[in-house]
Amino acid sequence: MIRFENISLQTQDHLILNGVSFEIARGEKAIFFGPSGSGKTTILMCLIGGAVPTAGTVLFNEEPLTTRTLPHLRQTVAFIGQEPVLGAAGVREALMLPFSFRANRARTPSEEQIQEVLKNLLLPPDILDKQTTVISGGEKQRLAVARALLLGKTVFVLDEITSALDPQSRLAVLTFFRKPELTLISVSHDPEWMELGTHFFKVEKGQVTAQNTPPVFREIKV
């Protein structure tokens, strides 16, 4: 489904990624871990077209990522960061934001669909009437997930999403992402999140130095 072939990313004075190769199939739950500044987030960025490799090829469903295929990838893959961006003042407005874009207008969800998704993520119905400035970080994370679900996305690119969650939100998120039909490409140092993983990639100095070896806890450091 997703394949990195010898990806490198060089800025003017720094080699951020150096020949990164890996493959992730549909339904797999991949976790990248390694020291801070090793290039984990840049790998995620290359995957969603948020950074452009200087060498190598990113393949999505066997098609190279180009300006032609990028819109399809961005409509299929959901990206959620450590501090999710909701992009609107009100919660309902934030949830409906992607449906104001032409590409998603036909998928505008019904009130029942919205309520069902909120329920699945243990979010109260009245959260829709709140402002995004007054809800917790955990609720924001779950709303970002809810928005991706309403868009029908099944591939999630996640950057340390459990790092600042309260126990209730953590449980809701972990339970949700266990679903076998979801594909995860994530960066995490959270031991509980590691239990979700089916594939592990250790990243050091811009390279994947170990694959499919679950980290021992002492390796999990930021």
Binding site: G50, V85, G87, L97, P98
Partner: protein, 262 residues
């Protein structure tokens, strides 16, 4: 009504007034004396040269010379906007030139050809000062709009990529930033319009009255020119942002950091 000219001697006596700010700045220890004399000197020399040039142009009153002069003003305005907005001239010159031309030329054309209707239509006495006023006011609006737009996207990179990853096109992802930039750029002109005549008498109107025009004639010109300035400001700010998108973003929809000069 006879226009009362000012003698050069009278003008020179006005320079004596500068003694007052000199004394105040000295007492307050404000280190601006050199700048004050430099600015005063530059203003005098520049305006004398402009007067000489305008007298020459008015006498010549040639369509091509007038058009060339307006084009020169647009190019200089463009250079100033690009530099003050912190953008790279090499990347932004052409799209911003197009934006300025699209916004100012139709406004000036409408104002001169339909509102004033001089004979000939390219009469330098109307065409050049009005172009100067419209361009001069667009300058500030465009610096604010472009600076706000690009620096907001630069500072808000995560939000921007989130919009893209939620299926927004480049134009859709830019829309909130465009909205904020236009708002910020137009508020000063709107405030000026709202307080005009109450807080200050506008320069053009004052100039016309001093030049012998009836106040009612002067205000008609002032209202028309303010409307032209506002419309040109909206059009140029909008067009400059839209026209510059292709130069400023990579094919992946990411802001190219090389567009910034600082």
């Amino acid at each position: 009504m006879q226009v009362m000219d000012m003698s050069w001697g009278a003008l020179a006596s006005i320079f004596c007034l500068l003694a007052i700010p000199v004394i105040i700045l000295r007492i307050a220890g404000v280190p601006l004396l050199r700048q004050m004399f430099s600015a005063t000197g530059r203003m005098t020399v520049q305006l004398v040269l402009v007067a000489l040039y305008l007298e020459f142009i008015f006498r010549l009153n040639n369509f091509w010379v007038n058009s060339g002069w307006i084009l020169t003003m647009i190019v200089i305005a463009n250079l100033t906007i690009t530099r003050n907005a912190g953008l790279q001239l090499r990347r932004m010159f052409t799209p911003l030139l197009a934006g300025l031309a699209v916004g100012t030329l139709p406004m000036v054309g409408f104002f001169v050809c339909l509102a004033i209707q001089p004979e000939p239509f390219y009469d330098a006495r109307y065409l050049i000062p009005i172009s100067g006023m419209v361009l001069g006011n667009c300058l500030r609006a465009n610096v604010i709009a472009l600076e706000r737009f690009y620096s907001a996207i630069r500072a808000d990179a995560k939000t921007f990529i989130t919009y893209l990853s939620l299926g927004a096109t480049l134009q859709e992802a830019c829309r909130p930033y465009l909205r904020q930039a236009l708002q910020a750029s137009l508020v000063p002109t709107l405030s000026t319009m709202a307080t005009m005549g109450l807080v200050s008498l506008p320069g053009m109107m004052t100039g016309q009255i001093l030049g012998g025009s009836a106040p009612m004639t002067a205000i008609k010109y002032q209202i028309a020119v303010m409307l032209a300035i506002f419309c040109a400001g909206v059009i140029t700010a909008f067009a400059n942002i839209i026209f510059s998108l292709r130069a400023a973003f990579t094919p992946y929809g990411l802001l190219d950091q090389d567009i910034f000069s600082r």
